[in-house]
Every structure is written in C-alpha cells, then in structure tokens.
C-alpha cells in the first residue's frame, strides 16, 4: 500500500489529527481504526510472531484474527482494528521481546 498522501477527493478536508507510530506521525480521519490508519499510511507489518519471528499485520480488520496486535500507550497485545484512532496515542510495533511491559 502507498504512503499516506491525500488523494484528490480529500484535498479539501486534509486530516489534522494524528497519532504516533514509533517516530512517525500517522494522520487519520474520524471513524478510522488505528489499523486502518496505519494501512493507509503504508504500514502493513505490525508485529513479529513469537515462535518464528515472522512479520504479521492486519488480516480480517474485524477483531477475529488477532494478527494486528500492537503496543498502544504501553499496553501490549492491543488489536489495532478494534482501537479507534485517537489524537496523540503512542503506537509501536510488537516485537517478540516487547512482551515485557508489565509495570
């Protein structure tokens, strides 16, 4: 999927809301899930699998496959497709060793 740029239909309503994905700002419009916003921005790999460390990203977008797991605001195993994108939240990829955040 391509980078996040407004296509012709959106030029008038340039999205101003954003959240952080690692170091990047990801812009979104209302009603988008975190996963949707990331896919629109060209991010397709959200996490690493535990056993074989393979990259995974969203598959079903409806909360059933559990492949779109991200670390959101410090919380692990968050389904990106079930989180509504919110201004300023901090999202990170979930690598196999990011599972150590019990605080």
């Amino acid at each position: 999927m391509p980078q996040n740029f407004p296509d012709l239909a959106r030029i008038d309503s340039m999205p101003k809301s954003f959240f952080y994905f690692e170091e990047k700002k990801i812009y979104f419009e209302q009603d988008m899930s975190v996963a949707a916003a990331l896919l629109c921005a060209g991010v397709t790999d959200f996490r690493q699998t535990q056993v074989l460390h393979k990259p995974r990203g969203p598959f079903c977008m409806m909360g059933a496959c559990f492949d779109c797991l991200l670390v959101i605001d410090g919380m692990v195993n968050q389904q990106g497709c079930m989180w509504l994108a919110k201004q300023g939240i901090k999202v990170k990829r979930q690598t196999s060793d990011v599972l150590s955040e019990i605080n």
């Binding site: 999927m1 391509p2 239909a9 959106r10 979104f28 419009e29 209302q30 009603d31 988008m32 899930s33 949707a36 916003a37 896919l39 629109c40 060209g42 397709t44 790999d45 959200f46 699998t49 056993v51 074989l52 393979k54 990259p55 995974r56 990203g57 969203p58 598959f59 079903c60 977008m61 409806m62 909360g63 059933a64 496959c65 559990f66 492949d67 797991l69 195993n77 497709c81 079930m82 509504l84």
Partner: protein
Amino acid sequence: MRVAVIGAGPAGISASLALVARSVHVTMLDEQQSAGGQIYRNLANVSVDQAQNLGPDYITGKSLLKQLEQAIDKKILTLFSRTSVWSVTEKKEVYWSIDGKSYCQKFDAIILATGSIERAMPIDGWTNPGVITVGAAQILIKTARYSPPSSVLVGSGPLFYLVACQMLEMGNPPKALLETQNNLDLLKAFIQLRPNLTSLLYLAKGLVMLAKLRFAGVKRIKAVRDVRIKSKGNAHIIEFSKVGTKSQIEAETVLLHAGVHPNIQITQALGLKHDWSQENHCFEPRTDKFGRTSLKNIFMAGDGIKILGADAAKISGKCAALALLADNGFLNAKADLSRTYRLHQKYVQIRKFLDVLYAPKDWYSCPTNNIVICRCEEVTAGKIREAVKIGCLGPNQLKAYSRCGMGNCQGRYCGNIVINLISEMVGQTPEETGYFRIRSPIKPVSLAEVANLETII
C-alpha cells in the same frame, strides 16, 4: 421480561425491533464502534456520496439503523457498543467487558446474532503483511474511505465481486481478479438451481456487478490454481497456474476471499450441537427452523446459523424474536412466525447455487506441508499431519500435540480447515471428528476485570 441480543448486525437489529414493538425491553451488546454489523458497518457516519459507492444494499440498512436509533431514543432499547461479550452461559448469564470493566447480567432470554467470519484461505504467503481479506478491504472502504490501490483479489464468492465493484466505484478498481472457480463449477451450479423470484433478482444483481467490472476493463482470470504469494514489503508477486500454464502478477495489496461461515465461538462454548454443512464446509449450530436452539429461551438469528445473506438475516431476526415471544406467552406471535418463516425460505435456493459455484478448492482439501494453517501458533499442515500420525482422532488431541487452535483466535480461522484435514486423514466424517472445545473467555479480558466483576441485578 429481559432479553439480551448479542450482535447488532441486520439480524440482531431486526430481532430487537420486533421485540420492542411488543414492549419487551432489549439490551443489545455489540463489539463494533456502532451498530450495523459488518454489512452496514459505519453506515451512520458515511456520507451520501460514499454510501452510493457501496451500493443499494448498503443504503437499505439506513432505514433499519434509523428505526434502531428511534427505539434507543425512546429508551425502549439499550445498545452497548464497543462491548466485548466474553461469556454466555446455559443459565442465560451474559458476561461482557466495556471500557476496562466487566459486567454480568442474567437474562430471561437471549438471541445470538453473532454473524459470520470469512473462511480462511491457507495458500502460500497468506500470512504475509499486506495480504488481507476482501472483507477487511471492505471495512477499509467503509470506515477509512480508502480503497487499496493496485490490488489483486484471489478467490471467489459473492463478497469477492461486491468488493471489487465497491473498489471500482471508489476510483480504485482492482488490478485483476484471480478467480478460483471454473466453468464446470458454473455448470454444476446451474444444473441444480431451481430459481425462484428471489434467486433471479439476486442473479440479476450479480450479473450487473460482473457487467460493471467488464465495462471498466477489470481483468478476470478464472480457474486459477496453485496460488503462491511472494512478498517483499508492500510489493507482492502472485504466482498462479491456469490450465497448466504458470503465470504471475504483481500487486501492492492482495485480497483473499473464499466465502464466509458462521462464527461459532459462543455456540460452541455453550455446548450446543453443531452439524457439518457439506455445502458450505463448516459447522453450523443446530436450530429449529425458527431459530430455537436446544436450550430453552436461547435463540439464534442470521448468518450465525447459516449463511444466507443480510436480507435473509433481517427476516431471520424477526423469526427468532417471534419464536421468543410465542414461547413466552405472547399471543398472536405464532401466526406471524409462520408467515415470516416463509419469507425467509426464499433465500435458500440461491444459496445452494452459490455454494456449488464457489466451493473451496485444492488449497482447502490438501494444503502442502509448508503452509501455515494455524496462524496464531504458526502450525503448518505438515506439523498437523505429523501430530495426527502420532495419534489424534480429533482436534482436541491435535491441539495438545501441536498447539494448533490454542492461540488468540481460538480456532476461528483454522477450525473448519483442521476438522476437514483430520477427517480426511483419519477417514471419518467431520461430525465424528468434532470441533475444538471452546471455552470462555471467548475474547480476552483482564484478570482485574474478572476479579472485580460487577453483577447487574
């Protein structure tokens, strides 16, 4: 009388409206941001223009949602959105989680309208990032107004063509459709079709969609086999063969679809009996023709019983509500019930046609050993075959030996595929093989919530 309706898709909404019309209070519980299920996803927030792109069926959902809103405003119906139901017991206790807190309430009756999920399509590369389902793409269109450019669709089924058309309307037609069904499937499907008016209308709609795609020049390649997806970041090369000749095509996104089947997590956790559908290659919960399950005052409606589509689901929802009313002393419900049921039956014929036309292919019955079947635990077909050889007659022993089905999705995706695999290897019917033992919580819930459960009286 207090009724819980789980799922706010067309079946759930129809059931709820039919109940509140008879002055029964309904509590609806749904996990998405707003009501509508997957078919009417985000309908309330979508602009008129955008809705047009999604087609007339999407728009008819508007009136349903409007009625729902009115009922909520009148306070005769309560809708909990963003709510994850994690347990339903035989005693009609429902456990749910919202905003980090869990609640429990016992109801007098429950209608399960939990809908369907897409069938897994385990082909080489199906777990690569950038490979999503056609349903996922539709969700992107509906909620993000985004149609992934330069997409190639692989598979078959009604939703396959619907989404292709929706992408076309959005100005981002698919680069190509790699279709797994062939002309023989079409012939077989037509031979057994006994068309009624509903079927003909449905076929007409389908033909209109195909015409649109043809007119727009969308490439269709049929009878495709041995599909392999090789991915490097957001660049995918899809290899396939057609009539023995190998080809490949590039894509930025790959969309898979192989039909849908009922989501049986709750029904399995409840211990309801399920029957294997030969036509749709999946387990379906056993209900009587109106949606009654073997448990008194627990009913089902919609695609969660059997895939018949949204229009049938609306009627099915009404049936379940009427059955509930009839069983609980509401007079006049019985007459309405028979009439409603007859309306519902109109949708069965076309379904048989579709099941034959779009039956799953070789990837379903004999995946090669290297293909990952259980996505969550990364268990390949080879590992499954190995475990069966050590001694598994069913999926629960398979789970023990291979971890297949033990992951987060609890077998939602690998379930029916695995049952089919085991059945073929062992030489028994899917019913003899059985299904994974599904337990609560059917969605994750924090220990804190479980420890501090609030019971609603």
